[in-house]
Each structure stands twice: as C-alpha cells, then as structure tokens.
C-alpha cells in the first residue's frame, strides 16, 4: 500500500468516474455555507472551503432517518421493512477531524445490539479525507493526541495538496481498492518533503489549544461541584452544539402518519433539551445546568469510561455556532483549574 500522487485534473476524472457508478459525497458550497452533499460531477465539489456547517456524521446517521414503515387497515397492521439501497459510496474531501469522529461513533452503534442502518452505511463507504488547507479560529483538533489537520484516523485515503497534485497516503485496504480500481490515474509518489511541509504548516495553523490533562480525573469527582451552575449560566438549551457535533449521536423515535400509512423515523435529539429525559412521573434533569453537565461529562468521562475514547475531535463547530458564545475550550479550562 505505497503512497501515490494524483494530479488535480486526474482527481476530477476520478470523481467523475466514481460518480457514474456509485454515490459520491463531498463538501459543496450552498449559499454562504458548505455542506456534505451527494454530487454528480467534480464541478460541484469544493475542496478548499471552510469547514462544513454540518458534520460528516449526517452521511451515516441521517438527521431524520426511516426505520420502518407501516400500513393500517381496520384492526390490522402491515409492517414494511426499510431497506438500505446497498450502493457503494465514497466521501471525498472530508476533514480529518470529521473522519476521526467516525471510529468514535462506531463504538456506540456497534456495541451490544448492532445498528444496521449506521453500520451498513459505514461498511460500504470509503472515506477520502484531505489535509486542511485552511483552519478556523475555533479549530482545536491538535489538543487531542491522535487528531490533527492531517491525521489519518477514520480515513481510508488522505490527500494533501502539494500544488499541481495531491499526495495520496493509503490508510486502509478500502482506500487501496480505490487506487487499484483506477490505477491509470495514480502515479508513483514523489515530493514527500513537500507533503510533509504542507502537513506541518497545516498543524501549525491550529492556534487554539486546550489542556486536557487532569480533566477526566476532575470529572470523576466533580458531579456536584457548584461550578456547573456557574459555567452553564448562559446556556439557552438550544442544542445547536449537539446537532452540529460530529460525535453526538442521541436520537428520538417518532411515528409520522399520512392517512393509513405511516413511517417510524429517528431524528437527531439532544441532551440539551428538557424533554429529553422527561417521563410521565419523573424528570431526572430538571435544570439546564444538569443538561449542560451531562453533555460535557458524557464527552470527556462517560464515553471514556465505557469505550475508552473521548467523544470530541476539536472540530470547533460548537464554538462557531453557539448563539451565546459558549466555548467548550474555556469550559474545560475552568473545570481543570477549579
């Protein structure tokens, strides 16, 4: 699985070739934001843009996804299984942080009961990430040991822009299969120093850093600390942070009816909402600070306890999109120094 080069022109050819037979997803500029979207031509793609508004998780775990459908006739019910289309898929141009979120999500969708909707899409998708050309002020991926603007975690291939061409690093067999299937477009790797330079530059562009040392130990014991009320005061409970988080995975299940046919869908849900835990006779999280605390402790302690992984990749979306400028890195700093 040797490294390769692909010219920018040939990458476009590759994308166009792939899009003929399989589903290709890539960042696409829509209005003033970028979103991972299904594309039919390399012309639609935007590899130099800002971070996508919504994370890559959406391609595997839809914001609203059908689980079953059914028909009702008098007393009788007929259930129709919702099936996946089974098509192979490729993602081109994902950010390394978004790709790194996938092995984190794999844990929850794959432990104990297997979630076929998510795992099936994962299985038939190849992920071609790209070293970030630009980083946002809110990016803090390098605070995590295994993640950076050029990390390979969760990717099958990693592209790095070295001018006329992309340097291609092969991470998995899945990635290698793309090269094998289109070998005429790939050349022998050269210019490794240029690749290393570009990657180093990208890493250095990430200025924001948060010290995670001591955080887990603090969270192990600070559940009842008054600091939670203090640091969560501004939180509106709007859930923008959880919806746009690449690792948040909570969902609600609802039925939608149209006359006698219905479908059962799962929709992204959020621990920031009061109704998330509301039961007819009992509400374990009555106040917003408890919901805020749940989000933070879940990411940096509970997930670590259970799956030995931190459920944050430093993509910065929660910082960028919070309507009241809550900042997870500041929150962590305050907890660690409390």
């Amino acid at each position: 699985m040797a490294d390769k080069l692909i010219s920018k022109e040939d990458l476009n050819t590759l994308i166009d070739n792939l899009a003929k037979d399989i589903d290709v997803f890539a960042p696409v500029k829509k209005g003033d934001m970028y979103l991972y979207s299904k594309i039919s031509s390399s012309k639609d793609i935007s590899l130099n843009g800002k971070n996508t508004k919504k994370p890559l998780k959406e391609v595997f775990f839809g914001q609203s996804e059908e689980l079953i459908s059914f028909k009702t006739a008098k007393k009788e019910i007929e259930i129709i299984e919702s099936e996946e289309d089974g098509k192979k898929r490729v993602i081109i141009g994902s950010r390394p942080c978004d790709a790194a979120a996938l092995p984190i999500l794999d844990e929850v969708f794959g432990w104990d009961y297997k979630d076929s909707f998510y795992l099936d899409k994962r299985e038939r998708t190849t992920i071609i990430s790209i070293t970030c050309n630009e980083v946002e002020e809110s990016c803090f991926c390098t605070s995590f040991g295994n993640i950076s603007p050029s990390s390979k975690e969760g990717s099958d291939l990693l592209l790095t822009d070295i001018g006329e061409s992309f340097y291609v690093e092969v991470v998995t067999d899945k990635g290698d299969a793309i090269i094998e299937g289109n070998s005429n477009l790939f050349k022998k790797a050269e210019n490794i120093s240029q690749k290393d330079k570009r990657q180093k530059e990208a890493v250095e562009k990430v200025k924001r850093r948060v010290e995670l040392e001591g955080l887990k130990e603090k969270l192990d014991i600070n559940f009842e600390d008054p600091i939670w009320k203090e640091i969560s005061q501004k939180c509106l409970g709007c859930a923008a942070c959880t919806y746009l988080c690449p690792t948040c995975h909570c969902f609600d299940i609802q039925d939608e009816m149209k006359k006698s046919t219905g479908k059962r869908v799962r929709n992204w849900d959020s621990c920031a909402f009061g109704h998330f835990t509301q039961m007819p006779g009992h509400q374990p999280r009555t106040e917003q600070f408890q919901r805020f605390r749940q989000r933070v402790i879940h990411k940096f302690k509970y997930y670590v306890d259970k799956f030995n992984k931190t459920a944050c990749v430093g993509c910065g979306r929660c910082i960028e999109n919070c309507p009241v400028n809550m900042d997870i890195t500041k929150v962590i700093e305050k907890i660690v120094s409390s």
Partner: protein
C-alpha cells in the same frame, strides 16, 4: 444485518381494568414461531408500538412460566398510553424485545425476600413474584409491601389476595377514604412488620426514586447488604438497545446495563439517580 428496530405484530387478547386509569393488556404474537420462541426473565421490558403514535417501554408483568402470551400494565400518562387505553380487544400493536437484564433470579432462590413496590411499580415485581411462587424452592419466605396513592390506585387488588396465601402481604395508601380500613402512610412504614434474618435477606424494589432512596436507607439500617438491595429503575428507554442516549445514568445504559441495579451499583452511578 437485522433491523433492530423492527417490531413484531401482537394482538390484544384481553384488557383488564386494574385501578384508576391503569389497565393490564394481554398480548399475543401473531407469528406462531415468535409466540413459541419468545422467552424473557422477570424484570425485562418490551418496546411497545402503537402504530402512528410511536413506541414506549413497558415491563412485562406476567410470569415467564405463562406461555402463549404476555401481560403489560399501563397507566394513562402520555399520548401513547392515552391511545393505548382507547384500543380494544383484537386490535394490533407491535413488540420489540425483551430488553434489559431482568432480576437476578438465581441469587434470589431459597432466600427471604422483601418486595417493596409503589403504584404501578408492582408490574415488574408481579412477574418475579409469580415466577418465584411457581419455581421449585423459589424462596424461603416472602414479604410483599405495597403502597398506592389512594385506595382506588391500588394496582391489581386480586393479585394481593392471591399472594397472601403464600406470602405476607401488607398494603398502605398515602390518602385514605371511607372504604379503607388499612394502613395510611408511605410504604416504608410497613417495614417494621418484617421479621427476617437480615444477612440472609434480599429486597426487591420498584417505585419512584424517592421511595427507592427512602426504602434503601431503611433496609440498610435493618442490616441488609447493599448488594442484596435490588431496584428496577425507570428511565425513558426510547430505543431499548443502547443507542439513543435517553436512558443513560452516568456511564450506564438503563436499557442494557439495567433496568435492574443493586443499591451498591446505584451508589456508584453519579448522583443523578
């Protein structure tokens, strides 16, 4: 890969009025193979579909010894249960499950057992009590302590008279009326009626968190070991399969790691309980 969210159709075979706004539903799978193969442990739950209204978790209240059908006990509380209360015998619903760990039945065998239930919390206990009454050497001695808000809220009055032939049964209500001649006060007030060797005794609790906390404190005072105080917890288990995140308490998923926990385990969970 199997769709873990796919329910199986079941028919409502019978409906019993148990108490004020509480009904028991007898459910039978339509599919013959499922009907014979479906097994569960007392304390496990199902996700019940009322098509068009969604799904909600309910403890199975019948004994695993009972074949052919299962029972759930449902209080009218939200939109789904309101619709369920309107359904008639012969109507179809959906079932996924069984889910959760259930009660540690082997640990309970041949022991003195105190059951302590509040309100509709008697439903999962009923499955276990009926099971232990039937299984050989199921228990050494059995106390059933139960509390309801008012006399008309007592769930399944005939169950208590049936159980009283084999167990010591004590009931109480928070608010009495003219018809009530028994105890008045919280269910924990019934504990002095229990005379057991604490070291050889287990307690099984189901009710609101305040009741579980109060009962746990009292049982520890009497001398029960923390690992012998067992409670089944209520959380909004939306998916039942450890994915949706609604039922987590600390790093545990109530739907998979629970809903049955020992008092020792509950203490180790975050104070959120």
């Amino acid at each position: 890969m199997k769709n873990i969210y796919l329910p199986e159709i079941a028919v409502i075979k019978d409906i019993k009025e148990e108490a004020f706004e509480i009904k028991t539903y007898v459910l039978e799978f339509l599919n013959k193979e499922t009907k014979t193969k479906f097994t569960f442990n007392p304390g496990q739950f199902i996700e019940l579909s009322v098509f068009g209204f969604g799904e909600a978790p309910f403890s199975i209240s019948s004994s695993p010894y009972r074949k052919k059908n299962i029972e759930i006990c449902v209080k009218k509380a939200g939109s789904l249960t309101k619709k369920l209360h309107e359904l008639k015998i012969g109507d179809e619903v959906g079932i996924r499950g069984p889910y959760g760990n259930g009660f540690p039945v082997e640990k309970l065998r041949k022991k003195s057992i105190i059951f302590l239930g509040g309100g509709i919390g008697v439903a999962p206990l009923k499955s276990l009590i009926d099971y232990l009454l039937k299984v050989e050497n199921g228990y050494k001695e059995m106390y059933i302590l139960y509390g309801a808000k008012r006399p008309k809220d007592i769930v399944g009055k005939e169950n208590f008279s049936f159980w009283s032939k084999k167990a010591q049964v004590y009931l109480t209500v928070d608010v009495s009326d003219k018809s009530w001649k028994g105890e008045v006060g919280p269910v924990t007030n019934l504990l002095p009626k229990v005379s057991v060797k604490a070291k050889d005794c287990l307690a099984v609790l189901c009710g609101p968190p305040a009741m579980i906390n109060a009962a746990t404190d009292r049982l520890r005072e009497i001398g029960l070991f923390e690992e012998n105080i067992i409670a089944t917890l209520e959380r909004y288990m939306k998916c039942g399969v450890g994915k949706c995140g609604h039922c987590t308490i600390g790093n545990k998923y109530t739907c998979i790691d629970g809903p049955v926990f020992t008092s020792k385990e509950i203490k180790e969970l975050d104070k959120e309980f």
